[in-house]
């Protein structure tokens, strides 16, 4: 199984996970490096339910290329088809050449992206907690996906709904508001004048 890390959530529950999973979080990684005697890392700001969800994400991403880079530089070692049979240590140039043409890599990344999008298709409250957890634990990919999930969740909302959600006051005068909506009327106008 490999070396494991023990994490303790804010409400006292213990999670034992492989290093590769836990080290998706830069915070956990740096805390583990500090040579804790009992190998238990406390995370007082993350509750067990959220931590469990975060670890689900990390488990999926433990051995996959970063969502950010998509196919920019998938090392051949991670290619599901070529599976370690690629010759030697690939330079970054041959990596990008590999991922440009390898259909298996492309499919694998697309599948992961789809999984991620489904993962963040949850209600806004959960996304909110994932955002804060990703920020606190410094997990780049989760942050990226939580932001995308939040943006997707609110993209259909009109200004009033967004105001309610973020508890913002409408500080425009009615005239100003009319001007703004007129400025962008092309967004909703389907017909040629």
């Amino acid at each position: 199984m490999g070396k494991t890390i023990k994490l303790i959530s804010g409400d006292g529950e213990m999670f034992e996970v492989e290093e590769a999973v836990a080290f998706q979080s830069n915070i956990i990684k740096s805390l583990a490096d500090e040579d804790n005697a009992d190998d238990c890392i406390p995370l007082p700001r993350v509750d067990s339910q959220i931590l469990s969800k975060v670890l689900e994400f990390c488990r999926k991403h433990a051995n996959s290329p970063s969502v950010h880079t998509k196919f920019a530089a998938i090392p051949s070692e991670l290619c599901p088809k070529h599976d370690g049979s690629a010759a030697g240590a690939s330079s970054s140039e041959s990596s990008s050449a590999h991922s440009e043409t390898c259909r298996a890599c492309y499919d694998a990344v697309m599948k992961l992206v789809q999984w991620d999008l489904e993962f963040v298709k949850v209600d806004l409250d959960l996304i909110h907690h994932l955002l804060k957890a990703a920020n606190y634990l410094d997990i780049e990919d989760l942050m990226f996906m939580a932001v995308e999930g939040a943006a997707n969740a609110i993209r259909g909302n009109n200004p009033e709904e967004i105001r309610k959600l973020f508890d913002l006051e409408n500080d425009f005068t009615p005239e100003e508001e009319k001007e703004i909506l007129k400025e962008y009327s092309w967004l909703d106008d389907p017909f040629e004048p």
Partner: protein, 450 residues
Amino acid sequence: MEEAFTISITTAGAGTGAGAGASSSSSASSSASLITVVNMDPRIWRHLPQGMVDRVLAFLPPDAFFRARAVCKRWYSLVFSDSFLELHLRLAPALPCFVFFLLPSTTASSSAPSDASSPAIAAASSSSSRPPPPPALLLDPVADSWHRIPLDAVIPPGFSPAASSHGVLCFISDDAGSKTLLLCNLLSKLAAHLPPSPTPRLFPTVGLAVGPSSICTVLAGDDMISPFAVKNLTAECFHADGVTGFYSPWATGSALPRLCSFEPGRMAYAASAGRFYGMSCGPFGVLSYDVASNAWEKIQPPMRRFLRSPSIAECGGGRVVLVAAVEKSKLSVPRSVRVWSLQPCGRAWSELDRMPHDVHSRFCDAEAGRGFECVGHGDFLVITMRASHDVLLFHVRRKEWRWAPPCPFLQGPGGVIGTLRGFAYVPRLATPCMALLDSSSFMPPVGFDG
């Protein structure tokens, strides 16, 4: 603003209110996915740090972002905030989109209206008879949605769309002679003009490549050797780089290879190679311009005979493709439309795919031998046909062909059937490269009198 998480869990079943989202992720093993979080402070989002709210806003697609500007004054002014624009530049997913302009059918073979029979007459036509620029029709091939962006308040009459790069669109003056190029950001409605190019040209081919702090544009061909004669002799390049301080306003000239043409008058840019590519006909070959060495070359990898309507496009990763119709030469070779990819050595084409039968028959009905053109962006290749409003999409990696949904802005009764000319476009709020142009070259908004 950090606070401890306090969640009270009331149910562990497959979602009551949280519904669809929770149940779809429950197929992944963890039981935590099934937990519904309730009894939350409904205004919890206001506790999100401002920086995080900005990140979410930066991620919104352009239409949602502009709607969000109406929320409050702070959000409205984000577009003017350097730090937000920087965040946006860094974070906003680069949507591979296309913008199309409907050009009258008769002018489809050139980049400017040809209602004049000679350059001299065109130059003499008064500005009041020139039509304003057509609106930009934005297609998002992933979401399959169309948006219409009017440009009559941004671009004056007498200019036509010529090239694009990232979030910048380039328009060229229609008048024969020294050419003025306008660079325009469709979303922020900013437009700035380049200094006029020295060599008089009629309908030159334009190539554009911008980066966060660089502008490179090439004007090639159609040198007017007399008021009534044109020849493809030279090209000139405008190059500005904010990082190295390099500034060459049309000072970089180059000679074109002998006997070249620029059909269909477009150039594609491959960033990885630092080169522009265009199609040359009679005989068929690929013209390539290397920016760093300011040199042209003609690449002539072996091509099939009986090709019709070839065009060069660039797909993601600097891949150069050729799209052409293969006409029937023998009974055994049926007509087809194929896509070839240029090998990295530049010496051979390898066939990537060809139109499947059902797509090809609809294509033949729509195109009817009139000719078609092609433009690429990211994973997508787009084909438009003369005197048709149909748009065909090809996903280069998945090798999938499909028709884009009909554009709702072209459905009006009594509309003229024109030709859709497409350009690769990335919706970008900020195009910092435009800061390289002198502030005096920025255009004021166009009034109703033009």
